[in-house]
Amino acid sequence: MGEFQVHRVRFFAYMPAGIRCLAHSPRSARLALARTDGALEVYNFAANYFQEKGIPGHETRTTEALCWATGDRLFGAGLGGDVSEYDLEKLRVKYSLDGFGGPIWSMAADPSGTQLAVGCEDGSVKLFQVLPDKIQFERSLDRQKGRIMSLSWHPSGTRIAVGSIDLLRVFDVKSGHAIQRILVDRHPQGLYRRECVVWSVAFLSDGTIVSSDSVGKVQFWDSEKGTLLETHPVSSSAVLCLAVSEEEDSIVVGTSEGAVYQFQLLPVKWGSAESKWVRTKPFQHHTHDVRAVAHSATALISGGLDAQLVIRPLMERVHGKGYDAVLRKFTFPHRRLVSCAKKARLLLFQFPQHLELWRLGATDSAGKDGDILPVSRAPEHLLQLKSKGPEHICCSCISLCGSWIAYATTSRLHLHRVHLENGSVRVKRVSKVPKLLCSAHQLLCSADSTSLFVASDQGAVHVLKLLEPGRCGHLQTLRPNSGSAQAVYLLTASVDGDWLAAASGDWEINVYSLRHFKPHCTVPVYNCAVTALAIHPVTNNLVIAHSDQQVFEFSITDREYTTWSRKVQQHGLHKGWLERDTPITHITFNPKQPAHILLHDTYMFCILDKSLPLPDDATQLMNQTTLKQLSEKARRGCAHAFKICKKYQPLLFVDLLEEGSLVVVERPLMDIKTQLPPPVQQKKFGT
């Protein structure tokens, strides 16, 4: 008999949406990512590529272009024809402005961040002025025939290179006239020559224009003379995107075959000024179209329709072996999509536009460690809740007893009362949910299912009272003393109902006393994003996981870090632990073993045993298999605090039910791949 009975859940048919565009801001070290369903995500590179912010998608919003202006303002434009600015504090669209040029295919901010150039369907390039709190239409450059697929500013801000169908143009910004028109080679095959779409352009400071097109070529042009400098056939299908490094010595391109190539500007001979662009490294991490690439100082970033964000470090620019020097692949959001009603043994799955409620299966047999037990009662799909309106769901939760389901879109909060009687399910919508002024970013039910905590803007947490039979009322609003501007994105409450901890976007954790509805204390701000929070049911210690893989334990009652936490900081965590790929997304506890902390990230599940000594770098971190082979006595000598299990991958959720059974929600990558459309046909040798 093993330690836990594990429910291995694979019926969460979550499909991440494909990545449509990327925008990297070197100044703030952040990456903005737009998905095909209109969702926006912001990754913080300084905090180990943690997905810091997320704005849920919208049915009508399709983002085609993203750009940062002055380092921290993010603009998006799409086929709806609107240019919008995102509010990264309140996690919503701040405002939208119609471009009046039809669908927008491309957008770029000028180097100073004062102007936005927008390329429209009707062939016009429109300039918008970026004002402190809005944007304003300034003027339109000479309108030409053919949609503007791509555009790029010259680093001086005086020229714009524009990629259209079959041709490239160079505009003078001051006069607004096209000063150069360059025809691009059409597709050479076939009876009729197919048009050539210039998918992406980049204007280099020496006047070279780099273009990538649907013929599969990356071409370098002289913008002054309008002549072709170099041609690099890269793919037999389209080259969809390109990005240039800040030093302009490296270019990354992505093709529709899923390959990413790097071009480097290399000297032909040492010491001579003559240099040429050489295609160097190919990477094949994607299976489908690579729709967007970005070039950070140390890494190539690519995102594709297979929903993977791949960060490939450039070894020659990364110094030392560390977190930066490892290839990262993100498929799943760094957010909790599953909530578990422990008492009722229910799982709530959050999809972009609906929720699913499942009852876990059960078994009546017992077995040895490692046995697969036969299921006597199959898991049951109880309920599917469709969200109303075009907005996507941003968060959801189910109470521990399973009788309340709450979910929120950007504008509304929805609450449902669920009655489970003898296998039949009845859902009743709570009609009078108090109208909150701001949106909800995280929801949490208290352990006794009497109150609902709603995380909101400006660090506020609303407390709603859940009343039988299916009513609710606004009880309190908790606000931090510091007056934070950022939204709260993580919540946790103690089992005894006394404490609530909330982490906001500026990585501040406030602890509130629910007895007095006032701030109790603030955890000292650590310089890395908080990825998971939990309060221990017995000791009421707050356990915090950060994106740099540090784990802290904070005593709420003593308002200080516990001695164990200090010991951990003194000793330092194991190297193998710190170099893990993905952040810890969920923390839970075992009430029968107060010394245990259960943590998980996408690739592993760990029981942190506080009673055991911490490992040092010389010992093996993943030692469970070796421990199994040792004798009882030797095992005790070798055991250390981290008990890691990598059997279940990729993990979306782990929680401990009562009576020692564990729920593990997996989403195999293979299942996602089979749902995707077939990739571009490629001849593989030997097939």
């Binding site: 690099h232 056939p233 890269v234 480097q264 290399l266 000297p267 032909v268 001979k269 040492w270 050489v278 295609r279 160097t280 490294k281 190919p282 070894m315 020659e316 040798f685 030997g686």
Partner: protein
């Protein structure tokens, strides 16, 4: 032709010139990268101990540079003088040759085994070689060192000033390459690329991981450097080619990958300007990558066999690829094959043995898979390949191919019988016998009859009846098989079909107690057939197919069987596996004599009574030549080679050789060739080593393949005049060499270039002596007179000479012209041309 220093050890035999075993014909052409001359007119390649000079236009061997005493491992043109060639060899010397005249200029003795040779245009006096680190301690440890070549006028110089450049590198020449203008040298070994920068004197080392998740095999196999840019191309075991750039930085180096080959990249070469990269491997496809791009590649497929080396000509017109099947293909830069230089194809196993084609006297044996090659030993050239199996050869490991196992010719060479087999497992055997008729019109063999499964089991022997085909109309073939039968096949008229055609069909099947038949042979007149069944030899009447008598020599099984010839035709000889050579008299049906000898090969000479037997003791093979009528061999040659002799053959000479020694008279009419286990083709020579070393014929002036135009004739005339003026002595040498053939001293004097000759005072006496000896001969005296003639007269005479040659040439060039351009000069034009030619145009030279 390789000269082995092994001499006969038999003390008893005191011959004036001992018989020596020499390696003949078909040594490996693909041992090292071939080199082009500067004008791409000649291709130089290392072949065994020699360097061979081929004409790229005619595929003919122009010169053989002989002088090394071990394998030549590297050749390179002298960057300072494009008419000179450096070669290095395992014998520890570097030799400098004048390859247009085939003269050894200088020898540098280094004293280590040299595995590769490199010379840079920039450094005049030092060269780079690869030597083993220590002869015994590190067997697999090689170093790149630079050697200072001393500038002394001596012909043999010791070069001992070595300085280490790189340690622990691969021994193969293609694993090291010098970069642009000699700034760096790159060397690969295992998983590492080493780059040494001469100016900064620093080494950069780049390593790859052995394998990756995707099944890459990153071991380096070869390296090449871009001639104009800082770019290194490396080939890998999994077929990838990496182009390294920025490798002067330890961290910021980068590479791009080209991948087409599915197996090992055997060699890489850049074109002269570096615009294209050539690669080749087991796919036998030459791939040309333009601009280092994966998308701009061109192919030259179906080159026959694995490409081992690639080189490019300095003028950029040609590439050449060396192949494992001992072939060099010269390829025009537009990727079209321009010429093929084919040596003797050496497979892993010669199953057919050595056969002689009676028509061409060519050696016939297995060639390319499924082919029979016809190889002329006199010219050391492959005549042609006959595709027997007629199936596409697929290169794949573990694939069982159809194998050609037996071949036999009829006495006149009109018929060829071949047997091919394919063995999947022990039980599944596919056999096919094919009979080929020689077609006089097409001058080749055409398939006449195809017989599936001629025997139930392996065919062990086949032979034609050696009858005069005019006398007895039916050609007869006998095959013996492991299924216990021998079958007689005759040519019959297929009267059934409408068209009269001839085909082979089975006439008689014989067996003897169902023992497997192991050998068969016909007597010389064709009246008797001997077939051996395990321990028994049976003799059959070939008219009635009756069993006449049996012989055996228990307990040995019969291994070889042959009838005596000419005066000894009443004897039948057989060898047993228990080590006996038996001679039976067919008239008395009794054992005439037997000798205890572990004979491996028994080969009768078709032109005499002589029979050669090669026996093997514990180590080394011995040759015995005897006549069946006397049990004593008249020639014993001990220890002809260390390995086992696989097969042997007598090849009739075109012209009987005059052999002084009585002992070696047996070699006068036909020559014995034998093939060892290591696929070395060896023969015997009675000539001394020195005699063989001086080439029999020297082509003094190599024909210039300039197109003939009136203007070139005109200029040519003038040039001839000048040359004859300058080289009056050379002209006389031509005359003299005919007259004073026997005096090597004069030859040496006249053929060696002036700057390497010893002082005149030293030569004088030798020269005069050589002239004095031939005083009895009147013509020799005249020759001396010619030498002493004053220059004016010589000029006149050479003028006349020229006149004559021109008259002869007169016809040839016009014919040549007519063929190519189809423009025939009218007679009046011809006259005019002639007039022009007569005029003095020496003023042209003044311009």
């Amino acid at each position: 032709m390789r000269v082995r220093g092994r001499r006969s050890r038999s003390g008893k035999m005191v011959a004036p010139q001992p018989l020596r075993v020499v390696r003949c014909g078909g040594s490996k052409l693909s041992g090292a990268r071939a080199a082009f001359s500067a004008d791409a007119k000649y291709l130089l390649c290392a072949s065994g101990d020699y360097v061979k000079v081929y004409s790229t236009a005619t595929e003919k061997c122009v010169h053989i540079l002989q002088g090394h005493t071990n394998l030549v491992t590297g050749i390179q043109l002298n960057p300072q003088n494009h008419m000179q060639l450096y070669s290095c060899s395992l014998d520890g010397t570097i030799k400098l040759w004048d390859f247009t005249d085939g003269i050894l200029i200088k020898t540098f003795v280094v004293g280590y085994k040299l595995f590769a040779f490199y010379m840079l245009a920039g450094s005049e006096d030092s060269v780079f070689i690869i030597i083993p680190k220590n002869d015994e301690d590190f067997l697999d440890w090689f170093q790149l060192v630079s050697v200072k070549l001393p500038k002394t006028p001596d012909q043999e110089v010791e070069a001992k000033e070595l300085s280490l450049i790189l340690d622990d590198i691969g021994q193969w020449p293609k694993c090291t390459a010098f970069g642009r203008e000699g700034e760096y040298v790159a060397s690969v070994r295992g998983l590492h690329l080493l780059v040494y920068f001469f100016k900064k004197k620093k080494i950069n080392r780049f390593s790859l991981s052995a394998t990756s998740k995707k099944g890459a095999n990153n071991y380096f196999t070869c390296v090449a450097c871009h001639p104009k840019e800082d770019c290194i191309a490396s080939g890998h075991k999994d077929g990838k080619i990496r182009l390294w750039r920025n490798f002067n930085h330890k961290r910021e180096y980068t590479f791009s990958t080209l991948h087409w080959h599915h197996d090992v990249v055997m060699d890489l070469a850049f074109s002269v300007e570096g615009t294209s990269l050539l690669s080749g491997g087991v796919e036998s496809v030459l791939v040309q990558w333009r601009d280092g791009s994966d998308y701009k590649k061109e192919f030259l497929p179906r080159l026959g066999s694995t490409i081992e080396h690639i080189s490019a000509s300095p003028d950029g017109t040609f590439y050449c690829t060396s192949h494992t099947e001992n072939k060099i293909i010269i390829i025009h830069s537009s990727l079209s094959v321009s010429a093929v230089i084919q040596g003797l194809v050496k497979g892993s196993d010669v199953k057919t043995g050595l056969v002689v084609d009676p028509r061409t006297k060519a050696l016939v044996l297995n060639g390319k898979p499924g082919h029979l090659q016809f190889y002329c030993l006199q010219t050391d050239k492959q005549l042609y390949n006959l595709d027997i199996v007629q199936q596409e050869y697929i290169h794949q490991i573990g694939l069982n191919q159809v194998d050609l196992v037996k071949a036999a010719f009829s006495a006149q060479g009109n018929w060829l019988a071949t047997v091919e087999q394919r063995e999947e497992k022990e039980v599944e055997l596919e056999l096919q016998m094919k009979l080929w008729n020689y077609d006089e019109q097409t001058q080749s063999f055409t398939l006449n009859t195809r017989i599936n499964m001629p025997h139930e089991d392996h065919v062990t022997a086949l032979c034609f009846r050696d009858t005069d085909e005019l006398e007895d109309g039916t050609p007869t073939l006998v095959t013996a098989g492991n299924d216990g039968r021998f079958k007689v096949w005759v040519l019959v008229n297929d009267s059934d079909s409408e068209k009269p055609s001839m085909g082979w069909s089975c006439d008689f099947v014989g067996s003897y107690h169902n023992y497997p038949a192991t050998n068969c042979c016909f007597s010389e007149d064709g009246s008797l057939l001997a077939v051996s069944f395990e321990e028994t030899v049976t003799v059959w009447n070939s008219d009635t197919w009756d069993l006449i008598c049996t012989f055996c020599h228990p307990p040995g099984r019969i291994q070889n069987l042959c009838f005596g010839r000419l005066s000894c035709s009443k004897y039948l000889l057989g060898t047993t596996d228990c080590g006996f050579l038996c001679c039976w008299n067919l008239l008395s049906c009794a054992l005439e004599w037997s000798a205890q000898l572990n004979v491996m090969v028994l080969q009768p000479d078709p032109l005499s009574e002589n029979i050669a037997a090669v026996s093997r003791l514990l180590e080394g093979s011995d040759l015995f030549v005897f006549k069946p009528n006397e049990p004593r061999p008249f020639c014993i040659q001990r220890n002809v080679c260390r390995e086992r002799v696989q097969c042997a053959v007598f090849i009739p000479r075109d012209v009987p050789d005059s052999i002084g020694s009585e002992k070696h008279q047996w070699l006068s009419r036909s020559q014995l060739y034998f093939l060892t286990e290591t696929q070395d083709l060896l023969t015997f020579s009675t000539k001394s080593a020195e005699e063989r070393l001086t080439p029999s014929s020297r082509q003094l002036a190599v024909e210039e393949s300039l197109p003939m135009t009136p203007f070139s004739l005109l200029l040519g005339k003038h040039r001839h005049q000048q040359q004859s003026k300058e080289n009056a002595d050379l002209d006389t040498a031509v005359v003299q060499s005919h007259l004073a053939q026997g005096s090597p001293a004069v030859k040496e004097l006249l053929h060696t270039s002036a700057h390497v000759l010893p002082s005149a005072s030293f030569l004088c006496s030798i020269f005069i002596n050589s002239v004095l000896i031939s005083k009895e001969n009147k013509s020799a005296g005249e020759v001396v007179d010619v030498v002493e003639m004053d220059s004016e007269k010589a000029e006149d005479e050479s003028d006349e000479d020229l006149e004559l040659t021109e008259m002869e040439q007169d016809i040839n060039p016009t014919e040549f012209l007519g063929e190519i351009t189809e423009i025939k000069l009218s007679k009046s034009q011809e006259k005019q041309l002639r007039k022009i030619r007569r005029m003095d145009y020496s003023w042209v030279a003044a311009l």
